[in-house]
Chain length 313, copies 2
Amino acid sequence: MIGLDKKVGYSVATGFAQAELIAALAAVTANEPRVMTVRAGKALPSGPFESSHRSLQAGLRDWVESQTGHPVGFLEQLYTFADGDRDPGAGTGMRRISISYLGLVREQAAPGAGQPEWHGWYEYFPWEDRRDGADDRAGGLDQIAASLSAWAGSDPHLSAERRQRVDFTFGLNGMNWNEDLVLQRYELMYEAALIPEAGGSPGFGQPMQGDHRRILATGIARLRAKIKYRPVAFEIMPASFTLLQLQRTVEALVGLNLHKSNFRRQIDQQELIEETGETTAETRGRPAMLFRYRPSVLEARQMAGTRLPISRT
Amino acid sequence: MIGLDKKVGYSVATGFAQAELIAALAAVTANEPRVMTVRAGKALPSGPFESSHRSLQAGLRDWVESQTGHPVGFLEQLYTFADGDRDPGAGTGMRRISISYLGLVREQAAPGAGQPEWHGWYEYFPWEDRRDGADDRAGGLDQIAASLSAWAGSDPHLSAERRQRVDFTFGLNGMNWNEDLVLQRYELMYEAALIPEAGGSPGFGQPMQGDHRRILATGIARLRAKIKYRPVAFEIMPASFTLLQLQRTVEALVGLNLHKSNFRRQIDQQELIEETGETTAETRGRPAMLFRYRPSVLEARQMAGTRLPISRT
DNA sequence: TTGACATAAACTCACTATGAGCATAATCCT
DNA sequence: AGGATTATGCTCATAGTGAGTTTATGTCAA
C-alpha cells in the first residue's frame, strides 16, 4: 500500500480514485435539530470534488452558503471513507473516496422549488432523543434492548461479552446513558443487523442511502462531544437569545434535559455571553434578558481544554 | 462542487483524484517521542492508496505492522487534505488527495538496511518541548516570540489583533501555555513566514517535504488532546511498567512536566491499572511496583467523557 | 557499617467545580 | 387580586484538583 522504496512502476490506475464530498449540515428550529437532505430525505447532499477549488473546505463552504443562503458558522471535516465492504456500487475497480463534513448553519433556507429539505435528525435515530418530551415512539429503547439481547444470546460463545458491550453502549442494567456514543450505538445495531442498510429489517429509524446514516451518526457524535468544551452552540443561535433558548438548543443537540440553574451558572462563569440590556416577552412568565456572545472570548475559548496534573514548581 | 441536481454531464476527469496515504507513526524511546521517517528524516512514509485493500484503515495497519514488526495499538485518521495552495508539484490538473493517519507503536524497529529511521519529533518542533530537561536550543521560544512580534508590527492595521493571537497561542504576556495548540502554533509561524516550507528562512526546527510537518503537527496535537480523556498512553508502554515510567512517557508526549503525586492519584482513581505484584530496581532509589493495564476497564474508558449539567429529576 | 542520596508511596489541606434543590422576582391570564 | 408561569439568584453537600509534606525503602560511597 505504501511503498517506501518503490520509486517507479505504478500501474496507470494505481492510487487513483473517485473523490466525493458529503456534507451533514445541521440547524436547530423549534428545539428540533434538523439535517439537510436530498432525495426525499434519503440522502445527504453530496457531489464530486472538482479540481477548480482551492481546498476542500473552501469549496464546500462556498457551495453551502449559496445553497442555504446563510453563512456557515462552523464547518469541520468528519472522516474519509474508502471502505469497499459497505459500498454497494463499486465494481469498476476504481475506488470511491468519500470525504465527509459536518456544518452548522443558523437558519434553514426557506422552502422552495428545488430546495433541499430539512429533516429532524431524530427521525433517523429515534433512540438518540432522551429528552422528556420525546415520545418514545415505536423503535424505542426497550425494543432495541430486546433485539440486542436476542442477538447477544444467539452466539453462546460471545454472549457475555456482547451483553456487556450492549449494556455499556446503551446505558442498560445500571450503566449510565452516554450521549456521545451515537456512532458506537449505530455500529452495534448495524452489527446486530437491526439496520436496513446492513440487510436488517426496518423498524429502527428511517434508513438512508449507502453510508449516509453512518456519516450523520458520526456528525452527531462529533457535535455532542464538541459542545462540551467548545462554544459551538452559538454558531446555531440567532444574534441575541435568552438563556432558556440557548439551553433548549443544547438540549436538542445532546438529546438530554439539562439542569436549569447549573446550566446558567456554567454559561456565565465561562463569560462567553453578555447582556444586551434588552428583554423579551416571548413567553408567558417573567420576561427574560437577552444575551449575545462575546466574540473575543469566544475566539479564545475556541481552543481550550486540558485536565492534566501540570507541575508549575 | 456538490451538485444536487446535476445528474449528468461530468467531464471525464471530474471528481477524480490521486489518492495518497500518509502516516505519522509515533513511539517513545528513552523518554523521547519519535516519529518514523523516510528520506533522511525529511518525509513521513507515504504511498498511493491501492484498490486491493478492503479499507483505508485495514490496509494501513497491515502495512505498518509488516514494516515495524510490531502491532499498531492505535491508529486513527487525522485529516484529508486537498489544498492546492500548499502543494508545489501539482500542475497536472488532477488533484492529489492526501489522507493522513496517526499511529502509535510500542517499540521502534531495530535499525537495519533499508529500515525507516526514527527521529525525535521535537527536532521538527523544538518549541513544543517545555519539559525542564529540554535545553532551550537555538530557535527557542524567545527567538520565536521576537520574530512573531516583528511580524505583528509589520502591519499597523492588524498588529493588535496579531499580538493578541500570538500571546494566546504561545502563552506569552501572562497567558498560559496550552500544549494542545501545536497546529495553531505551526500555522501561525507559517503565516509569519518563519517556516522554510512557506518560503521563510530556516532556523525554527527541521523542515520536511511538502505538508508533512503540518501533518505531524496535526498528529501531535491530536495525541496531546486525546491523552487527557482516553487511555492512549498505554498503547505505547510495555506490558508492565512503573508509575514513573508511565509519567515520563506522558510528559514526553505532552512536552510538560507533570505533578508526581497528582498524576499517580489520577491514574489510580481511574482504576486503569493494577499491580503485578513484582517490583523493579532499575533506578537508584526505592524499588517501584510494577503495574499492568486492566484491559476490561480500558475498553470501557475508551469511550467516556461528559461535563454537562444533566438533570436527573 | 553508616550516612548521604534517590526514589516510591501515602497523606494533608485549601480551593474550585459540580449536582441538587429552594427562594424570590417579574410578568401574564382570568 | 390571585394563580400560573417563567426568570434569576442563592445555598449546601460533595467530588475533583493543585500544591505540598511525610514516611518508607532501596543504592552507593566513604
